[in-house]
């Protein structure tokens, strides 16, 4: 099984240890992991700011780097969701409503249909996985050689949770489940703390964090306070962007609470 490792730009630049943990974790599970060196970004920062029409370059680059792999895995629910939802759009040339409503029928169209050439061949939306769901759903991991003897608060990142359905959301009246929790439960010594608001957004939100600074910071402070109130020593998530935001707030408060990406915990031997 050849896995293309997608390390989102800000993880590459700021949190290399998360990339390393992801790589090691996958290799421990017997995957052949390759990191295509020419990769950059999923394009989400531009697209979420209203500039999706600019992201064709990012999309094409992504397809070029990753189309050959059996699977693509990234330690970020948000970037994966973005790729899943947008990479097959020919950079918004097509009316968006056609893209959204016809999504499932696309493969049934004849070859000459006027879609981006790479579309049905690269199948990137179908083979890209966020790390946690790749471990639980594809590799079906049910034991881990990991230990992490700390009280941990799990931050449910919105795009992973509500977008990729990594966990049941509190809004829906449906049976609960949580893939990140399922994995964290396999880690020796780890104690998960309960939160008052188990799936409230942290307020990062891409460029929201600077364009709506006041609300973003307030949301982050409130999220951090929930974890601290329940005596978490470490806050984890499957999205580093949320954690980067929360870390910025924790450091400013000179809090001792640490942040760790879930890959670092699942790969820990402490």
């Amino acid at each position: 099984m050849r896995v293309g490792l997608f390390i989102p730009c800000y993880i590459d630049q700021f949190y290399p240890q998360v990339g390393i943990a992801t790589l090691e974790l996958l290799e421990k599970q017997g995957c052949e992991v390759v990191f295509p060196p020419e990769q950059t970004c999923c394009g989400q920062p531009m697209a979420n700011s209203g500039f999706e029409h600019l992201t064709k370059g990012c999309n094409d680059l992504f397809i070029k780097n990753f189309e050959a792999f059996d699977y693509i895995v990234a330690p970020s629910g948000s970037c994966v969701l973005h790729i899943k939802e947008h990479i097959h759009d020919p950079a918004s040339q097509k009316p968006p409503e056609a893209a959204s409503s016809d999504r499932t029928d696309i493969s049934a169209l004849p070859e000459f249909a006027n879609f981006p050439t790479a579309h049905s061949r690269h199948n990137i939306p179908g083979k890209i996985f966020e790390l946690v769901e790749f471990l639980t759903d594809v590799l079906k991991v049910d034991k881990l050689e990991a230990s992490f003897p700390y009280k941990v608060g799990l931050h449910q990142s919105c795009h992973g949770q509500r977008g990729l359905k990594l966990a049941q959301m509190s809004e829906l009246m449906a049976p609960p489940f949580s893939k990140p929790q399922q994995l964290l439960n396999l880690v020796k010594g780890l104690q998960l703390v309960e939160l008052d608001r188990k799936d409230e957004c942290c307020g990062f939100g891409g460029t929201f964090c600077v364009f709506e600074e006041a609300i973003s910071v307030k949301m982050g402070k409130d999220r951090v306070a929930d974890h601290i109130r329940h005596e978490a020593e470490v806050i984890t998530a499957s999205d580093m962007s949320c954690l980067m935001h929360l870390e910025g707030i924790l450091r400013r408060q000179q809090s001792k609470v640490q942040i760790k990406h879930i890959a670092e915990i699942l790969n820990a031997r402490l």
Binding site: P16, F51, G57, E97, T207, E213, K218, R252
Partner: protein, 506 residues
């Protein structure tokens, strides 16, 4: 052709669409929190993305956040309502099926709107109701005024109607010398305070009981310092009773109108719509054209969803059906378009017309809870307002689709399954494409995109460290300062993951 030629001419300071009559909107007044920017080093004064809007959502929300305990109180109050909604929904085993059914019924309505409207008009007319058609807010207001004038009436009571807020009916009638008393308790409070509602179901949720005590002391003469809710409610009751008994015209909103029977349903907890309508000689009901449902049997689906979603109650205290005027009474319905048919034509956005105005998306929205309704500077605030308002005035409300983290909670509490957060995303694209994004933001995005589309540039930029620290996707506004003001930067590592991989894995 002529349309596109005219467009630039409208741009400078035209207060078209400025129905609120708020001249400060166009004034180049800097809000106080923006003054911080002057303290920043020169290089950090990059694009001022919001300089076009003097008071956009971000600025108004920052203002609201100056009083943090108040933000906490506002957030917790609304979160409590969200939790009540969760409990109420959890008690209905078929909740998700109900949502799905409601969504489909509304889809059907939107796809057959003109037919249902004609059917409704026919049935309502047969029932003895006078049906009026208003293309826009102004026509609606003129129709209401003409009914009042015909009866030579200059005072009326009004129960809750967000449509009349949208049309700014109170201001319009006030200018014409008509005295309007809002009879919903929360609406009356904000009316006395001279403010618009901050929430479509809980209009004065932004006010604390002590503040309401003060407002009542000033306007209704209650003892100073008395903030006992029961006492204040009683005072309001006495005050409003006199209004009910002396007004001959009552205006109500409409929650649902049934095409099959020509009747309409008004949901209230206080019974004020009934009190007004039953005591008045003339009952005027204002409704947006999207409020229709096909048949009476569909009503149960919506009544079960509406109040559970809104406040966590199983149903409103009163769900009043109005079908025909009682003997000697006049009953009017004003069917208002005001941009709805344009909205219906926007394929990506039309299903926001399914909205039944429960405000569940307000209560769940982590941004709304912490920014307050007035920060949205529009009649219908919150996530749903952020996708409805740009249809009414894209320039004025260009900021609203950006007042969200796209967390998706709104779409999943919505009882009629409107894909709110996806529409927020799509509005962002439209707003940028239509040229309502700040030039500075566009420049930054283009640079960012160029770097991220060219691996070589990206790697060099990353290696120098500084570039990425200053221009990373999350720091684009003012160098790193907007991030750094209240948050620390991540500690830059010695090497990127890519560098590590090259050394260790190849």
């Amino acid at each position: 052709m002529s349309g596109s030629n005219q467009k630039p001419l409208e741009v400078p300071e035209q207060s078209e669409g400025n129905e609120q009559g708020s001249p400060q909107w166009g004034e180049p007044k800097l809000s106080s929190d923006r003054t911080d920017f002057n303290a920043l080093p020169e290089f950090a004064k990059l694009p001022k993305a919001n300089s076009r809007h003097k008071q956009d959502h971000a600025a108004l929300a920052a203002e609201f956040n100056k009083d943090e305990p108040r933000v906490d109180w506002h957030d917790e109050t609304l979160w409590w309502v969200r939790q009540k909604r969760d409990k109420a929904a959890a008690r209905v085993p078929e909740w998700e099926l109900l949502r799905d059914t409601a969504s489909r019924i509304k889809d059907n309505v939107l796809s057959n709107l003109s037919g249902y409207l004609r059917q409704f008009e026919e049935e309502a007319t047969r029932n003895g109701i006078t049906v009026h058609w208003a293309a826009d807010a102004n026509e609606h207001n003129e129709i209401v005024l003409s009914i009042l004038s015909r009866h030579k009436i200059d005072k009326m009571v009004k129960s809750k109607s967000m449509l009349t807020e949208e049309c700014h009916l109170n201001e319009f009638l006030h200018e014409k010398g008509i005295d309007v008393v809002d009879t919903d308790l929360g609406e009356r409070v904000v009316q006395l305070a001279g403010e618009p509602p901050s929430h479509i179901v809980l209009p004065c949720i932004h006010l604390k009981k002590q503040e309401i005590g003060e407002i009542f002391h000033e306007h209704l003469g209650t003892p100073k310092g008395n903030a006992d809710p029961q006492f204040l409610t009683h005072a309001a009751r006495l005050h409003l009773r006199e209004k009910f008994l002396t007004r001959r015209v009552a205006l109500t909103g409409v929650n649902f109108a049934v095409a099959e029977t020509g009747e309409f349903v008004v949901c209230t907890n206080e019974g004020n719509a009934d009190m007004g309508a039953h005591l008045a000689d003339v009952h005027i009901a204002s409704m947006g054209i999207e409020k229709l449902i096909p048949q009476r049997r569909h009503l149960g689906v919506f009544l079960r969803l509406l109040t559970r979603s809104a406040t966590g109650q199983p149903i409103t205290t009163y769900s009043s059906h109005f079908r025909r005027p009682r003997q000697g009474q006049e009953m009017h319905i004003v069917l208002v378009d005001n941009g709805r048919s344009v909205h219906l034509g926007r394929k990506d956005f039309r299903n926001s017309l399914k909205c039944i105005r429960c405000a569940a998306c307000f209560n769940t929205c982590p941004v709304y809870r912490r920014s307050g309704g007035h920060s949205y500077h529009t009649a219908v605030a919150g996530p749903i307002g952020s996708i409805l308002s740009p249809n009414l005035d894209m320039k004025k409300y260009a900021d609203l689709p950006f007042a969200s983290t796209l967390c998706g909670s709104c779409s999943n509490v919505c009882p009629v399954k409107i894909d709110i957060h996806e529409q927020l995303y799509k509005w962002r694209q439209v707003i940028v494409q239509e040229g309502y994004a700040a030039a500075g933001k566009t420049a930054v995005m283009k640079t960012m995109n160029w770097v991220l589309s060219h691996p070589g540039v990206y790697h060099t930029a990353g290696k120098t460290g500084r570039w990425f620290m200053l221009n990373a996707p999350f720091t684009v506004k003012n160098g790193f300062n907007t991030w750094y003001r209240q948050r620390d930067m991540p500690t830059p590592p010695k090497q990127s993951f890519g560098d590590w991989y090259k050394k260790n894995k190849k």
